[in-house]
Amino acid sequence: MTIKLYDIAHSRAGDKGNTLTLSLIPYKAEDYPLLCDQVTAEAVKQHLRDIVLGEITRYELPNLPALQFVCQQALNGGVTTSLTMDMHGKSLSYALLEMWITV
Protein backbone atom coordinates (compact mmCIF):
# COMPACT_ATOMS: atom_id res chain seq x y z
CA MET A 1 0.00 0.00 0.00
CA THR A 2 1.01 3.64 -0.35
CA ILE A 3 1.27 6.15 2.45
CA LYS A 4 2.27 9.78 2.68
CA LEU A 5 5.57 10.67 4.28
CA TYR A 6 3.39 12.69 6.65
CA ASP A 7 2.16 9.41 8.15
CA ILE A 8 5.58 8.26 9.36
CA ALA A 9 7.91 11.26 9.47
CA HIS A 10 8.23 14.92 10.33
CA SER A 11 10.25 17.68 8.73
CA ARG A 12 11.44 21.24 9.18
CA ALA A 13 12.47 23.60 6.41
CA GLY A 14 15.30 26.12 6.65
CA ASP A 15 16.72 28.69 4.25
CA LYS A 16 20.08 30.05 3.21
CA GLY A 17 19.73 32.58 0.43
CA ASN A 18 17.99 30.83 -2.44
CA THR A 19 18.75 27.39 -0.99
CA LEU A 20 16.20 25.35 0.94
CA THR A 21 17.04 22.72 3.56
CA LEU A 22 14.51 20.02 4.47
CA SER A 23 15.02 17.56 7.28
CA LEU A 24 13.12 14.27 7.19
CA ILE A 25 12.87 12.54 10.53
CA PRO A 26 11.02 9.24 11.03
CA TYR A 27 8.88 8.99 14.17
CA LYS A 28 10.13 5.43 14.56
CA ALA A 29 13.80 4.64 13.97
CA GLU A 30 12.85 1.36 12.26
CA ASP A 31 11.33 3.34 9.38
CA TYR A 32 14.68 4.98 8.59
CA PRO A 33 15.83 2.31 6.06
CA LEU A 34 12.50 2.66 4.24
CA LEU A 35 13.09 6.41 3.91
CA CYS A 36 16.68 5.88 2.77
CA ASP A 37 15.46 3.44 0.17
CA GLN A 38 12.55 5.39 -1.31
CA VAL A 39 13.08 9.05 -0.52
CA THR A 40 16.09 9.48 -2.76
CA ALA A 41 17.34 12.84 -4.00
CA GLU A 42 15.92 11.93 -7.42
CA ALA A 43 12.49 11.07 -5.96
CA VAL A 44 12.35 14.35 -4.05
CA LYS A 45 13.47 16.24 -7.15
CA GLN A 46 10.59 14.67 -9.07
CA HIS A 47 8.09 15.39 -6.26
CA LEU A 48 9.14 19.04 -5.91
CA ARG A 49 9.74 19.63 -9.64
CA ASP A 50 7.41 22.66 -9.72
CA ILE A 51 9.20 24.26 -6.79
CA VAL A 52 12.88 23.32 -6.73
CA LEU A 53 14.65 24.43 -9.91
CA GLY A 54 18.19 23.38 -8.98
CA GLU A 55 19.96 20.30 -7.75
CA ILE A 56 18.99 18.37 -4.64
CA THR A 57 21.62 16.74 -2.42
CA ARG A 58 20.72 14.17 0.23
CA TYR A 59 22.72 13.65 3.42
CA GLU A 60 22.22 10.60 5.65
CA LEU A 61 22.45 10.86 9.42
CA PRO A 62 22.00 7.27 10.62
CA ASN A 63 22.74 7.98 14.25
CA LEU A 64 19.83 10.41 14.70
CA PRO A 65 18.35 8.86 12.45
CA ALA A 66 17.32 11.43 9.86
CA LEU A 67 17.81 12.57 6.27
CA GLN A 68 18.68 16.08 5.18
CA PHE A 69 17.88 17.46 1.72
CA VAL A 70 19.59 20.57 0.41
CA CYS A 71 17.68 22.07 -2.52
CA GLN A 72 19.26 24.70 -4.77
CA GLN A 73 17.24 27.47 -6.47
CA ALA A 74 14.16 26.68 -4.44
CA LEU A 75 13.08 29.99 -2.98
CA ASN A 76 12.29 32.34 -5.86
CA GLY A 77 15.44 34.31 -5.21
CA GLY A 78 15.37 34.03 -1.44
CA VAL A 79 13.99 35.84 1.53
CA THR A 80 14.98 39.40 0.77
CA THR A 81 13.68 39.93 -2.73
CA SER A 82 11.16 37.13 -3.35
CA LEU A 83 7.67 37.93 -4.62
CA THR A 84 6.19 34.90 -2.88
CA MET A 85 4.32 35.17 0.39
CA ASP A 86 6.43 32.49 2.07
CA MET A 87 9.76 34.15 1.32
CA HIS A 88 11.68 31.81 3.62
CA GLY A 89 10.06 28.70 2.14
CA LYS A 90 9.27 27.63 5.67
CA SER A 91 6.04 25.93 4.61
CA LEU A 92 7.87 23.62 2.21
CA SER A 93 8.46 20.99 4.91
CA TYR A 94 4.82 20.08 4.45
CA ALA A 95 5.23 19.93 0.68
CA LEU A 96 7.87 17.23 1.20
CA LEU A 97 5.53 15.34 3.54
CA GLU A 98 2.92 15.20 0.74
CA MET A 99 5.13 12.68 -1.06
CA TRP A 100 3.78 9.13 -1.38
CA ILE A 101 5.87 6.03 -0.72
CA THR A 102 5.11 2.30 -0.86
CA VAL A 103 5.21 0.17 2.27
Binding site: I51, T80, L83, S91
Partner: protein, 438 residues
Protein backbone atom coordinates in the same frame (compact mmCIF):
# COMPACT_ATOMS: atom_id res chain seq x y z
CA UNK B 1 36.38 26.51 37.18
CA UNK B 2 32.71 25.65 37.41
CA UNK B 3 31.73 22.00 36.93
CA UNK B 4 28.89 23.02 34.64
CA UNK B 5 27.87 26.25 32.99
CA UNK B 6 24.21 26.98 32.40
CA UNK B 7 23.40 29.05 29.32
CA UNK B 8 19.87 30.03 28.36
CA UNK B 9 18.59 31.43 25.10
CA UNK B 10 15.85 34.01 25.59
CA UNK B 11 15.37 35.18 22.00
CA UNK B 12 15.88 33.47 18.65
CA UNK B 13 15.15 36.44 16.40
CA UNK B 14 14.71 40.18 16.55
CA UNK B 15 10.94 40.01 16.88
CA UNK B 16 10.89 37.24 19.47
CA UNK B 17 8.63 37.35 22.54
CA UNK B 18 9.91 39.14 25.61
CA UNK B 19 8.45 37.00 28.43
CA UNK B 20 10.41 33.75 28.01
CA UNK B 21 13.72 35.56 28.56
CA UNK B 22 12.35 37.12 31.72
CA UNK B 23 11.26 33.69 33.00
CA UNK B 24 14.73 32.31 32.25
CA UNK B 25 16.49 35.10 34.16
CA UNK B 26 14.10 35.00 37.10
CA UNK B 27 13.75 31.24 37.54
CA UNK B 28 16.38 29.60 35.35
CA UNK B 29 19.37 29.81 37.69
CA UNK B 30 21.46 30.82 34.68
CA UNK B 31 25.10 31.77 34.41
CA UNK B 32 24.60 33.31 30.98
CA UNK B 33 21.63 34.55 29.00
CA UNK B 34 22.00 34.86 25.24
CA UNK B 35 19.61 36.85 23.06
CA UNK B 36 20.12 36.11 19.36
CA UNK B 37 18.39 38.90 17.48
CA UNK B 38 20.11 39.33 14.15
CA UNK B 39 18.90 37.76 10.91
CA UNK B 40 20.60 38.25 7.54
CA UNK B 41 18.54 41.23 6.48
CA UNK B 42 18.00 42.69 9.96
CA UNK B 43 21.43 44.31 9.98
CA UNK B 44 20.97 45.94 6.57
CA UNK B 45 17.71 47.49 7.76
CA UNK B 46 19.52 48.59 10.93
CA UNK B 47 22.25 50.22 8.82
CA UNK B 48 19.56 52.28 7.09
CA UNK B 49 18.19 53.43 10.45
CA UNK B 50 21.70 54.34 11.58
CA UNK B 51 22.22 56.47 8.48
CA UNK B 52 19.07 58.42 9.33
CA UNK B 53 20.06 58.81 13.00
CA UNK B 54 23.58 58.03 14.27
CA UNK B 55 22.13 57.12 17.67
CA UNK B 56 20.04 54.32 16.20
CA UNK B 57 20.75 51.14 14.26
CA UNK B 58 20.52 48.72 17.18
CA UNK B 59 17.70 46.24 17.80
CA UNK B 60 14.29 47.98 17.84
CA UNK B 61 13.22 45.97 20.91
CA UNK B 62 16.47 46.56 22.84
CA UNK B 63 15.00 49.15 25.17
CA UNK B 64 11.97 47.04 26.12
CA UNK B 65 14.10 43.94 26.57
CA UNK B 66 16.73 45.66 28.74
CA UNK B 67 14.20 47.54 30.88
CA UNK B 68 12.46 44.30 31.81
CA UNK B 69 15.57 42.12 32.15
CA UNK B 70 18.20 44.39 33.70
CA UNK B 71 17.16 44.35 37.38
CA UNK B 72 16.89 40.54 37.30
CA UNK B 73 20.18 40.09 35.44
CA UNK B 74 21.94 42.10 38.15
CA UNK B 75 20.09 40.52 41.10
CA UNK B 76 20.73 36.98 39.87
CA UNK B 77 24.26 37.64 38.58
CA UNK B 78 23.46 36.49 35.05
CA UNK B 79 25.75 37.73 32.31
CA UNK B 80 24.01 38.78 29.10
CA UNK B 81 25.55 38.13 25.68
CA UNK B 82 23.59 39.51 22.74
CA UNK B 83 23.96 40.71 19.17
CA UNK B 84 21.26 43.34 19.68
CA UNK B 85 23.90 45.92 18.80
CA UNK B 86 23.11 45.13 15.15
CA UNK B 87 24.54 48.01 13.08
CA UNK B 88 25.47 50.11 16.10
CA UNK B 89 26.80 48.25 19.17
CA UNK B 90 28.33 51.45 20.61
CA UNK B 91 25.00 53.29 20.59
CA UNK B 92 23.32 50.18 21.99
CA UNK B 93 25.80 50.04 24.88
CA UNK B 94 25.23 53.72 25.64
CA UNK B 95 21.47 53.13 25.56
CA UNK B 96 21.83 50.30 28.09
CA UNK B 97 23.89 52.56 30.37
CA UNK B 98 21.17 55.24 30.10
CA UNK B 99 18.50 52.70 31.04
CA UNK B 100 20.61 51.43 33.94
CA UNK B 101 20.97 54.97 35.29
CA UNK B 102 17.22 55.53 35.06
CA UNK B 103 16.66 52.28 36.95
CA UNK B 104 19.44 53.15 39.45
CA UNK B 105 21.29 49.96 38.57
CA UNK B 106 25.06 49.81 38.17
CA UNK B 107 26.33 47.77 35.22
CA UNK B 108 29.34 47.55 32.96
CA UNK B 109 28.67 47.04 29.27
CA UNK B 110 31.19 45.82 26.69
CA UNK B 111 30.50 46.66 23.06
CA UNK B 112 32.15 44.42 20.47
CA UNK B 113 32.76 46.09 17.11
CA UNK B 114 34.75 45.43 13.97
CA UNK B 115 32.23 43.49 11.91
CA UNK B 116 31.38 46.49 9.73
CA UNK B 117 33.63 45.97 6.68
CA UNK B 118 31.77 48.24 4.28
CA UNK B 119 34.82 50.48 3.81
CA UNK B 120 36.99 47.46 3.01
CA UNK B 121 34.94 46.40 -0.01
CA UNK B 122 35.28 47.87 -3.47
CA UNK B 123 32.18 46.25 -4.96
CA UNK B 124 34.24 44.17 -7.36
CA UNK B 125 34.28 41.18 -4.99
CA UNK B 126 32.34 38.17 -6.20
CA UNK B 127 28.90 37.44 -4.73
CA UNK B 128 28.70 33.79 -3.68
CA UNK B 129 25.09 33.52 -4.83
CA UNK B 130 25.51 34.91 -8.35
CA UNK B 131 29.23 34.59 -9.16
CA UNK B 132 29.08 38.22 -10.31
CA UNK B 133 30.61 41.36 -8.75
CA UNK B 134 28.73 42.61 -5.68
CA UNK B 135 28.06 46.00 -7.25
CA UNK B 136 25.97 44.42 -10.01
CA UNK B 137 23.33 43.50 -7.39
CA UNK B 138 22.41 47.15 -6.82
CA UNK B 139 23.51 50.12 -4.72
CA UNK B 140 25.40 48.60 -1.79
CA UNK B 141 24.29 49.87 1.63
CA UNK B 142 26.03 47.65 4.16
CA UNK B 143 28.61 44.92 4.63
CA UNK B 144 29.00 43.03 7.89
CA UNK B 145 31.33 40.10 8.46
CA UNK B 146 30.40 37.20 10.70
CA UNK B 147 32.94 37.46 13.50
CA UNK B 148 33.61 34.58 15.86
CA UNK B 149 34.55 33.90 19.44
CA UNK B 150 37.93 35.61 19.03
CA UNK B 151 36.01 38.90 18.91
CA UNK B 152 33.83 38.07 21.95
CA UNK B 153 36.39 36.46 24.30
CA UNK B 154 38.24 39.72 25.12
CA UNK B 155 34.89 41.20 26.20
CA UNK B 156 34.18 38.20 28.42
CA UNK B 157 37.62 38.64 29.99
CA UNK B 158 36.58 42.06 31.31
CA UNK B 159 34.17 42.44 34.21
CA UNK B 160 31.36 43.46 31.86
CA UNK B 161 27.89 42.32 32.90
CA UNK B 162 26.54 42.75 29.40
CA UNK B 163 28.37 41.98 26.16
CA UNK B 164 26.71 43.49 23.13
CA UNK B 165 27.87 42.77 19.60
CA UNK B 166 27.01 43.46 16.00
CA UNK B 167 27.30 40.66 13.44
CA UNK B 168 28.83 37.52 14.89
CA UNK B 169 28.00 33.95 13.94
CA UNK B 170 24.99 32.81 15.96
CA UNK B 171 26.62 29.75 17.59
CA UNK B 172 29.63 31.90 18.60
CA UNK B 173 27.39 33.78 21.06
CA UNK B 174 27.11 30.50 23.00
CA UNK B 175 30.53 29.01 22.28
CA UNK B 176 32.37 32.10 23.58
CA UNK B 177 31.12 31.77 27.19
CA UNK B 178 31.95 28.04 27.13
CA UNK B 179 35.50 28.67 25.92
CA UNK B 180 35.83 31.48 28.46
CA UNK B 181 34.65 29.32 31.36
CA UNK B 182 36.33 26.03 30.45
CA UNK B 183 39.49 27.38 28.86
CA UNK B 184 39.11 25.28 25.74
CA UNK B 185 42.05 25.80 23.43
CA UNK B 186 41.23 27.43 20.09
CA UNK B 187 43.02 24.62 18.26
CA UNK B 188 41.26 21.82 20.13
CA UNK B 189 38.61 21.37 17.49
CA UNK B 190 36.29 18.71 18.91
CA UNK B 191 35.20 20.78 21.94
CA UNK B 192 34.72 23.75 19.61
CA UNK B 193 32.62 21.54 17.30
CA UNK B 194 30.55 20.24 20.21
CA UNK B 195 30.16 23.78 21.56
CA UNK B 196 28.92 24.82 18.13
CA UNK B 197 26.35 22.01 18.26
CA UNK B 198 25.19 23.43 21.61
CA UNK B 199 24.99 26.92 20.17
CA UNK B 200 23.13 25.74 17.10
CA UNK B 201 20.59 23.84 19.22
CA UNK B 202 20.00 26.89 21.45
CA UNK B 203 20.20 29.73 18.96
CA UNK B 204 16.59 29.67 17.77
CA UNK B 205 15.31 29.68 21.37
CA UNK B 206 11.71 28.43 21.29
CA UNK B 207 12.32 26.22 18.28
CA UNK B 208 14.08 23.77 20.60
CA UNK B 209 11.24 23.77 23.12
CA UNK B 210 8.34 23.09 20.77
CA UNK B 211 7.86 26.42 19.06
CA UNK B 212 7.43 25.88 15.32
CA UNK B 213 6.86 22.16 15.97
CA UNK B 214 3.20 21.61 16.85
CA UNK B 215 0.87 19.77 14.48
CA UNK B 216 -2.34 19.03 16.39
CA UNK B 217 -3.09 15.34 16.72
CA UNK B 218 0.32 14.37 15.43
CA UNK B 219 2.92 16.49 17.15
CA UNK B 220 1.07 17.92 20.15
CA UNK B 221 2.76 20.57 22.27
CA UNK B 222 1.38 21.40 25.71
CA UNK B 223 0.58 24.92 26.89
CA UNK B 224 2.07 26.71 23.90
CA UNK B 225 0.76 30.10 25.02
CA UNK B 226 3.34 30.01 27.81
CA UNK B 227 6.12 28.43 25.72
CA UNK B 228 9.37 28.39 27.67
CA UNK B 229 12.76 28.94 26.07
CA UNK B 230 15.66 26.51 26.54
CA UNK B 231 18.83 26.37 28.54
CA UNK B 232 21.76 23.96 28.53
CA UNK B 233 23.88 22.64 31.38
CA UNK B 234 27.28 22.20 29.78
CA UNK B 235 30.12 20.17 31.30
CA UNK B 236 33.78 20.91 30.72
CA UNK B 237 33.97 18.05 28.20
CA UNK B 238 31.21 19.67 26.17
CA UNK B 239 28.45 17.25 27.05
CA UNK B 240 25.25 19.24 27.38
CA UNK B 241 21.84 18.58 28.87
CA UNK B 242 19.09 20.77 27.42
CA UNK B 243 15.99 21.64 29.36
CA UNK B 244 13.56 24.46 30.14
CA UNK B 245 12.22 26.10 33.29
CA UNK B 246 9.78 23.79 35.02
CA UNK B 247 6.18 24.95 34.74
CA UNK B 248 6.67 26.65 31.38
CA UNK B 249 4.84 25.43 28.30
CA UNK B 250 6.25 23.60 25.32
CA UNK B 251 8.15 20.36 24.92
CA UNK B 252 11.83 19.51 24.57
CA UNK B 253 12.19 16.02 23.12
CA UNK B 254 14.35 14.00 20.77
CA UNK B 255 12.05 15.10 17.95
CA UNK B 256 12.33 18.83 18.66
CA UNK B 257 16.09 18.48 19.12
CA UNK B 258 16.53 16.63 15.82
CA UNK B 259 14.53 19.24 13.90
CA UNK B 260 16.60 22.02 15.40
CA UNK B 261 19.94 20.24 14.93
CA UNK B 262 19.34 20.04 11.18
CA UNK B 263 17.68 23.45 10.82
CA UNK B 264 19.36 25.53 8.09
CA UNK B 265 22.28 23.10 7.93
CA UNK B 266 23.72 22.50 4.48
CA UNK B 267 26.36 19.75 4.76
CA UNK B 268 25.97 18.26 8.26
CA UNK B 269 29.57 17.05 8.20
CA UNK B 270 30.86 20.57 7.45
CA UNK B 271 28.96 23.26 9.33
CA UNK B 272 31.22 26.24 8.77
CA UNK B 273 31.54 28.95 11.42
CA UNK B 274 34.29 31.53 12.09
CA UNK B 275 35.49 29.30 14.96
CA UNK B 276 35.52 25.78 13.59
CA UNK B 277 34.22 23.57 10.79
CA UNK B 278 31.83 21.51 12.88
CA UNK B 279 30.75 17.93 12.17
CA UNK B 280 27.19 17.14 13.27
CA UNK B 281 27.12 13.59 11.90
CA UNK B 282 28.40 11.92 15.08
CA UNK B 283 26.11 13.83 17.43
CA UNK B 284 24.28 11.60 19.89
CA UNK B 285 20.97 12.76 21.34
CA UNK B 286 19.53 10.98 24.38
CA UNK B 287 16.29 11.64 26.21
CA UNK B 288 17.19 11.84 29.91
CA UNK B 289 13.68 12.52 31.23
CA UNK B 290 10.67 14.72 30.52
CA UNK B 291 11.87 17.84 28.67
CA UNK B 292 15.48 16.84 29.09
CA UNK B 293 17.75 15.87 26.20
CA UNK B 294 21.49 15.20 26.33
CA UNK B 295 23.74 15.99 23.36
CA UNK B 296 27.31 14.87 22.85
CA UNK B 297 29.64 13.80 20.08
CA UNK B 298 29.98 16.98 18.05
CA UNK B 299 33.36 17.17 16.37
CA UNK B 300 35.33 19.74 14.42
CA UNK B 301 38.18 20.76 12.18
CA UNK B 302 40.23 23.92 11.83
CA UNK B 303 38.38 27.17 11.21
CA UNK B 304 38.45 28.77 7.75
CA UNK B 305 40.80 31.65 6.90
CA UNK B 306 37.91 33.61 5.44
CA UNK B 307 34.81 35.07 7.03
CA UNK B 308 31.40 35.28 5.40
CA UNK B 309 30.17 38.81 4.78
CA UNK B 310 26.50 39.75 4.39
CA UNK B 311 26.22 42.60 1.92
CA UNK B 312 23.03 44.64 1.81
CA UNK B 313 21.90 46.44 -1.34
CA UNK B 314 18.97 48.53 -2.41
CA UNK B 315 16.66 46.22 -4.33
CA UNK B 316 13.81 48.57 -5.19
CA UNK B 317 10.24 48.22 -4.02
CA UNK B 318 7.52 45.61 -3.96
CA UNK B 319 3.88 46.48 -4.48
CA UNK B 320 1.14 44.13 -3.34
CA UNK B 321 -2.62 44.01 -3.57
CA UNK B 322 -5.18 41.54 -2.25
CA UNK B 323 -8.93 40.98 -2.65
CA UNK B 324 -11.22 38.09 -1.64
CA UNK B 325 -13.83 36.05 -3.51
CA UNK B 326 -16.20 33.60 -1.78
CA UNK B 327 -18.97 31.13 -2.53
CA UNK B 328 -19.79 29.25 -5.73
CA UNK B 329 -17.23 29.57 -8.52
CA UNK B 330 -14.99 31.70 -6.28
CA UNK B 331 -11.78 30.28 -7.73
CA UNK B 332 -12.83 31.03 -11.32
CA UNK B 333 -13.88 34.57 -10.45
CA UNK B 334 -10.55 35.11 -8.72
CA UNK B 335 -8.73 33.71 -11.76
CA UNK B 336 -10.66 36.06 -14.03
CA UNK B 337 -9.58 38.93 -11.79
CA UNK B 338 -5.99 37.72 -12.01
CA UNK B 339 -6.15 37.64 -15.81
CA UNK B 340 -7.53 41.16 -15.89
CA UNK B 341 -4.75 42.44 -13.60
CA UNK B 342 -2.13 40.65 -15.69
CA UNK B 343 -3.36 42.41 -18.81
CA UNK B 344 -3.57 45.81 -17.13
CA UNK B 345 -0.09 45.65 -15.55
CA UNK B 346 2.05 43.57 -17.89
CA UNK B 347 3.50 46.60 -19.65
CA UNK B 348 4.77 48.04 -16.35
CA UNK B 349 6.14 44.95 -14.59
CA UNK B 350 8.53 42.29 -15.89
CA UNK B 351 8.04 40.08 -12.87
CA UNK B 352 4.45 39.91 -11.67
CA UNK B 353 3.25 37.18 -9.34
CA UNK B 354 -0.44 36.31 -9.08
CA UNK B 355 -1.51 33.96 -6.30
CA UNK B 356 -4.86 32.40 -5.46
CA UNK B 357 -4.69 32.11 -1.71
CA UNK B 358 -6.60 29.05 -0.57
CA UNK B 359 -5.89 27.14 -3.78
CA UNK B 360 -2.24 26.82 -4.82
CA UNK B 361 -0.68 30.12 -3.74
CA UNK B 362 2.00 28.84 -1.40
CA UNK B 363 3.62 26.09 -3.47
CA UNK B 364 2.10 26.66 -6.94
CA UNK B 365 0.71 23.13 -6.70
CA UNK B 366 -1.59 21.19 -4.37
CA UNK B 367 -0.16 17.81 -5.31
CA UNK B 368 -3.44 16.96 -7.00
CA UNK B 369 -5.84 15.98 -4.30
CA UNK B 370 -7.57 18.90 -2.65
CA UNK B 371 -11.08 20.10 -3.68
CA UNK B 372 -11.94 23.70 -4.56
CA UNK B 373 -12.13 25.81 -1.43
CA UNK B 374 -15.13 27.95 -0.44
CA UNK B 375 -13.11 31.13 -0.53
CA UNK B 376 -10.13 32.44 -2.46
CA UNK B 377 -8.04 35.51 -1.87
CA UNK B 378 -6.37 36.96 -4.93
CA UNK B 379 -2.91 38.30 -4.26
CA UNK B 380 -0.76 40.18 -6.76
CA UNK B 381 2.85 41.23 -6.22
CA UNK B 382 5.32 43.03 -8.45
CA UNK B 383 8.77 44.55 -8.15
CA UNK B 384 9.51 48.11 -9.22
CA UNK B 385 12.35 50.60 -9.01
CA UNK B 386 10.23 53.32 -7.42
CA UNK B 387 7.61 53.31 -4.70
CA UNK B 388 5.24 55.14 -7.00
CA UNK B 389 5.39 52.43 -9.64
CA UNK B 390 5.11 49.68 -7.04
CA UNK B 391 1.91 51.28 -5.79
CA UNK B 392 0.28 50.59 -9.17
CA UNK B 393 -0.19 46.94 -8.18
CA UNK B 394 -2.37 47.71 -5.18
CA UNK B 395 -4.21 50.44 -7.05
CA UNK B 396 -5.21 48.07 -9.84
CA UNK B 397 -6.29 45.36 -7.39
CA UNK B 398 -8.39 47.85 -5.46
CA UNK B 399 -9.95 49.02 -8.74
CA UNK B 400 -11.33 45.49 -9.22
CA UNK B 401 -14.16 46.61 -6.93
CA UNK B 402 -15.88 48.33 -9.81
CA UNK B 403 -13.81 47.08 -12.75
CA UNK B 404 -13.54 43.34 -12.09
CA UNK B 405 -15.51 40.11 -11.48
CA UNK B 406 -18.52 39.79 -9.18
CA UNK B 407 -18.35 39.69 -5.42
CA UNK B 408 -14.79 40.82 -4.70
CA UNK B 409 -14.30 42.20 -1.19
CA UNK B 410 -11.76 43.33 1.36
CA UNK B 411 -9.11 44.85 -0.90
CA UNK B 412 -5.81 45.78 0.74
CA UNK B 413 -2.70 47.37 -0.77
CA UNK B 414 0.89 47.60 0.39
CA UNK B 415 4.26 48.99 -0.74
CA UNK B 416 7.50 47.78 0.87
CA UNK B 417 11.08 48.85 0.32
CA UNK B 418 13.32 45.89 -0.45
CA UNK B 419 16.77 45.37 0.99
CA UNK B 420 18.58 42.58 -0.83
CA UNK B 421 21.35 40.48 0.67
CA UNK B 422 24.23 38.76 -1.07
CA UNK B 423 27.28 37.16 0.50
CA UNK B 424 30.98 37.28 -0.10
CA UNK B 425 34.13 36.17 1.71
CA UNK B 426 36.84 38.28 3.29
CA UNK B 427 40.27 37.39 4.67
CA UNK B 428 39.74 37.28 8.43
CA UNK B 429 43.02 39.12 9.03
CA UNK B 430 41.55 42.23 7.45
CA UNK B 431 39.28 42.61 10.48
CA UNK B 432 40.24 44.26 13.75
CA UNK B 433 37.68 43.34 16.42
CA UNK B 434 37.50 45.84 19.28
CA UNK B 435 36.00 45.93 22.74
CA UNK B 436 34.80 49.23 24.19
CA UNK B 437 33.75 49.39 27.84
CA UNK B 438 30.93 51.63 29.05
Amino acid sequence: MKATVRIGCGAGFSGDRLDPALVLVQQGNLDYLVLECLAERTIALAQKRKRQDAKLGYDPLLERRIVSLLPHLVANKVRLVTNMGAANPLAAAQKIIDIAQQLSVSVTVAAVTGDDVFSLLSGSEVALETGKPLSESGLLVSANAYMGIDAILPALATDADIIITGRVADPSLFLAPLVHEFGWSLDNYNPLGQGTVIGHLLECAGQLTGGYFADPGRKDVADMARLGHPFADVSSDGTAVFSKVSGTGGVLSLSTAKEQLLYEVMDPSRYITPDVVADFTQVRLTEMGPNQVKASGGQGQARPDTLKVSVGYEAGFIGEGEISYAGSNALNRAKLAGTIIQERLQDYFTDLRIDYIGSTSVHRTNFGHYPDPYEIRLRVAGKASTAQQAALVGEEVEALYTNGPAGGGGARKYVHELVGIVSTLIDRHQLTPQVTLF
